[in-house]
Amino acid sequence: MIAFDQHAKRPEFINVRVKRQDGPGKEPYWQLFKIPYEPELNVITVLQRIAALGKDADGNKSFPVCWDCGCLEEVCGACTMVINGRVRQSCSALVDRLMEDNPDELVLEPMSKFPVIRDLMVDRSRLFRGLKRVKAWVPVDSYYDMGRGERQLREMQERNYPLSQCMSCGCCVEACPQYTKIELEQKPGESDEAFDARKNDAFDKAFVGPHAISQAMLFNNHPTGKALEGERLDALTAPGGIQACGNAQNCVAVCPKEIPLTTSIARAGRATTLHTIRKWFEK
């Protein structure tokens, strides 16, 4: 700390306000924590300090905050949350920078578009369901050695690589005004399988989200992935498809990997238009 005397403006403590919830369907509540300021903190460290501290600002014993994280390098997509009102990865959310915007406190909330499991941890299975809907894979024949893939021009790689960096973190859908929360409860006596089926049914009718649209465009631009182009476009024109997009373009603005999601959406717009017209006249 002595070495950082030149930053004398820094406070001794940081107030961290966390929106907590003990489980699905429980009432959320706010809890305030106070942790000593350190230079170069990020939100992950803040939560680790809170866990090690074990008490809130008033000195009451408190459970560690539940949250999800993985690589801490912004490539795994696990640690998404709403920090000071904006969705982002908590690993790359630097406290010093956040305090420039709001010097009084740090406000941590779970993502609002997914059911809360506990505290800052949410159930993002709908994101992955979206990838299934658009068949985001290359339908190769087998995993045997069949020689190399098709030659691809650099231009194609340069178009596909940015899309392929999508880590399913959920920032885009959290900021999207057209993507709304679906939270279902397991009915008494309902089996896990039946509940999953009911959930998937609900997910499949709702907006698929920018990330999945972009993945559909990625695989439609792959020499072998193209084989499923029609099926992907059918999925994008089914209920909850591309038509639900309202062009608010928040997705691209909050994407931590700066993936050109709105370019993918516009591409999908053109592809679905042509696909539908073609189907109208050919079938």
Partner: protein, 661 residues
Amino acid sequence: MANQRVVVVGGGLAGLASTMKLAELGINVDLISLTPVKRSHSVCAQGGINSCNDQTRQLGDNEFKHFDDTVYGGDFLNHQPPVKEMADWAPKVIDLMDRLGVPFNRTGEGFIDRRRFGGTLYKRTAFAGATTGQQLLYALDEQVRRRESEGKVRKFEFWDFQGLIQDSTGRCRGVVAQDMVSMEMRSFPADAVVVATGGCGLVYGRSTMSVFCTGSAASRCFQAGAKYANGEFIQVHPTAIPGSDKLRLMSESARGEGGRVWVPRKPHDSRSPRDIPAADRYYFLEERYPEYGNLVPRDIATREIFDICVNEGLSVDDERMCVYLDLTHISKSELDRKLGGILEIYEKFQGVDPRIEPMRIFPAVHYSMGGLWADYVRTAAGGLEPGAPKNHMTNIEGLYAIGECDYHYHGANRLGANSLLSCIFTGLFTGPSIVNYIENQSEGHADLASSEIDSAVKKQQDRHDSLLKGDSSSDENPYLIHQELGDVMTRAATVVRRNDQLKDAIETVNELHERAMKVSLSDTGGWSNQNVLFSKSLQDMFPIAKCILQGALQRDECRGAHYKPEFQRPSLTAEDPAERRKQAEEWLDEFDKNNEKFLKSTIAEYDNASMKPKLSYEAVDTSLIQPRPRLYGLVGADIIEQVFKERAEAKKAGAAPAASA
């Protein structure tokens, strides 16, 4: 055939490759992972994946040379048949990944572009931007999702592997896992189990690994009787950005482009680095290695940075060990052009512009070469027998280990861009072996007695319940114990190892282990209790930590990542040619003697009663390439090499007549 089931634990590159291959072979797979598989640690690999290729072949490269580079880099502790098989498969693995849609960087003509990596003369490394691991993982994740939607794979994400189900013969018949959300404990009966749970970086507190790389899954197998091999071989990367939550990799290219490493001569100089005049700066690499300067090889850079902070106490920062990696003397435009991407990473996570202020860096634990011991079947030609049920099976029948948590491929030191290859290769290659194993069994997963299942589940439930109940006499905080463990391990068992320090560390770790066994939880609830999950994995870090320390203590030599200054072989001192030759002969005699003693895999078996590992040593298959000394930076290297070659030829000549006689 119709209803065979394999449980794969871990959804990184190896686990996913295994899952998709098994599904293709008609097996139903239950894939258990404590994180959504798309978030597995494999995403962090940046550099690339190696194989010899059309370009390098025309420059004289071939699979055998890739194999040779790998075992030379690993200081000959690698098992040669599996490494040979892997090198032979490497071009095919890359072809497959290409077909699966990995956006490898392309040449202007549309071929896969290659770059050169450390430890080789050839441009073998295929890469996809700066996120090759992520791209490879996603391609496999997509295939597994495809198989999942076909009903061949069931994913259990946010499920934590707790332990094995073994029948009375000891054969592994499935696993017990816990739902990390509902805390439900459940059995997963299977015909075979594959463990692909990666490395154990969290034993060191902070490392370049993801937060779930605790090694606890491997440890749970180890405690159930599986052998753990070569634990002491932990790769440390010289330049990482020390964050308070994790150590993030800083590419070697920063030094390559002219970065200078220094510390203030005055310990913990409180001045801003820009205000410290040249006279008060200690460019220790340049001073200690005038010839190579800042571009000394990785292991030496690592050791020197470590030495300057730990032994000389010259760390830049008081609380956090680090040195300056200075690029500020290079023009901004040049930096942006050559290093733009990696400087942005530094800026993003440190909030400091490295073009204006020197970066603070420190070595970081990066990869575990060791792991669960596993078998293999060698062919006459020196490769692996495809489809042999023993390939990658641990000493527990029916339990397979692949990926970073096996131990065969990287010896004492892993070559850059070989880890992604070994993960995918082992996942694919073991598929037919597992299928053949299952087909030879008379009893399948459905035949398992329910009493055996129940007792396995109960054992884990009891452990869970007793942790929740806690020990009223103690208030041990698991998070603080983890910090202490990390500190001890980082000090004693990373870059430079000394026996006195290792002995002390073993004692401290024993004490910590006992404290960890009676942690008191602040959260005793039954819903998404991360507190209890963390405590369990903390407790399970100790058997691995002890393997590392004990293995390091007993290995009195320098080999690859394991460096003990007391046992470093000296340079040649004599000036007189005859005397010098004599010294070289002696040097090589010592080398042979040392290999006889230590060119062996360390094998640990866990004794649950004493909570300590028992070590033994196992011969390494070096039948394909004769071990040769690594002589970097040694005075007299030329003469030693000459003598070595003469001896090798004499041996060959001696062996040939004997064979014909």
